[in-house]
């Protein structure tokens, strides 16, 4: 387990979402100790996600765990605006 993992607020845009609930978010600003610009969510890492409202292009805010690795793990998110 990485030592420097911290939970951080983020805002960003959903890049893609798959049928099994896996998805990727591009952050508006880098977060965490290694300045992650991307986060992922899935049914195994996030307990309650608003899958019905998540679409590519949707803007979201939430909490993510970030460490020295390439991509942050999204723990919570809320959709602030749907894609157009």
């Amino acid at each position: 387990m990485p030592e420097r993992e911290t939970r951080i607020e983020f805002s960003g845009t959903v890049v893609r979402i798959e049928a099994d609930g896996f998805g990727i978010i591009k952050f508006d600003h880098p977060i965490g100790p290694s300045s992650n610009t991307l986060g992922f969510f899935s049914s195994s890492t996030s307990s309650a996600l608003p899958f019905d409202d998540l679409r590519p292009g949707a803007h979201v805010i939430g909490m993510a765990e970030a460490d020295e690795r390439d991509i942050a793990a999204i723990k919570q998110l809320v959709v602030t605006s749907r894609s157009t």
Binding site: I17, A19, F22, L38, S42, P56
Partner: protein
């Protein structure tokens, strides 16, 4: 960098020994040699292409070269994930998600085994299980189309080929996504929002080729 491949076109001259495997597909038994899959680990990527490519494989090859990949990377037209012993999991046109023995590819396919270095065995098993779970859910054309792929694909793929090519895309992307989910590491050169093709997984420098020697069947 030259690729390490398992190529049945050239009858293996050197082997790492003799083994007795039962049961084994007749074609592989007649060939007399199989790859020594004891060198493979759960979660390994298996790239493959036919010794004699059919029309669909030639089409995939053309798409990948048109996307800018070298002939060496574009030749790979199928991706699967190694599970254990000789079993792999993959999505196959019309048949859906299946697990089967990799020996059934011998001697009609060229194979290449790629692995993410530095992972623990439990992470490798998680990649394999995660990929199996994702494949089971994603091999659903309706679900794929509903996620907005239709618009994207219409510009890149011939729609008539979509059901067949869909399985190629899904297998490659599932390996990539499972790797991201378990390791939280991105594979260089692979798109995050785009379609991951076998050529991306062939070209990335974040996976290492595994040397899998031939063994003679007794």
């Amino acid at each position: 960098m030259s690729q390490i491949i398992i190529d049945p076109i050239r009858k293996p001259r050197t082997t790492s020994g003799t083994v007795s495997i039962t049961p084994i597909p007749n074609k592989a038994r007649q060939f007399g040699f199989v790859p020594d899959l004891r060198h493979c680990k759960a979660g390994d990527l298996i790239l493959s292409c036919s010794v004699k490519p059919g029309f669909l494989e030639k089409h995939i090859y053309r798409i990948q070269t048109r996307a800018g990949f070298s002939a060496e990377d574009s030749r790979w037209t199928h991706a699967a994930v190694f599970l254990y012993e000789d079993f792999i999991v993959e999505a196959v046109p019309l048949r859906g998600v299946i697990s089967r023995t990799l020996y059934s590819d011998i001697p009609e396919s060229v194979l290449r085994v790629r692995r993410s270095p530095g992972l623990h065995d439990n992470e490798r098993y998680k990649i394999a299980l995660c990929a199996q779970r994702m494949l089971g859910t994603r091999y659903n054309i309706k679900a794929a189309l509903s996620l907005g792929w239709r618009a994207f694909l219409s510009g890149m793929w011939d729609r008539a080929w979509f059901p067949s090519i869909n399985s190629v895309i899904i297998c490659s992307k599932v390996f990539y996504d499972a790797h991201v989910e378990i390791t939280r590491k991105l594979l260089s050169g692979c798109p995050i929002s785009d379609l991951v093709m076998p050529a991306h997984l062939s070209a990335t420098s974040d996976l290492q080729d595994i040397n899998v020697p031939w063994v003679k069947l007794s």
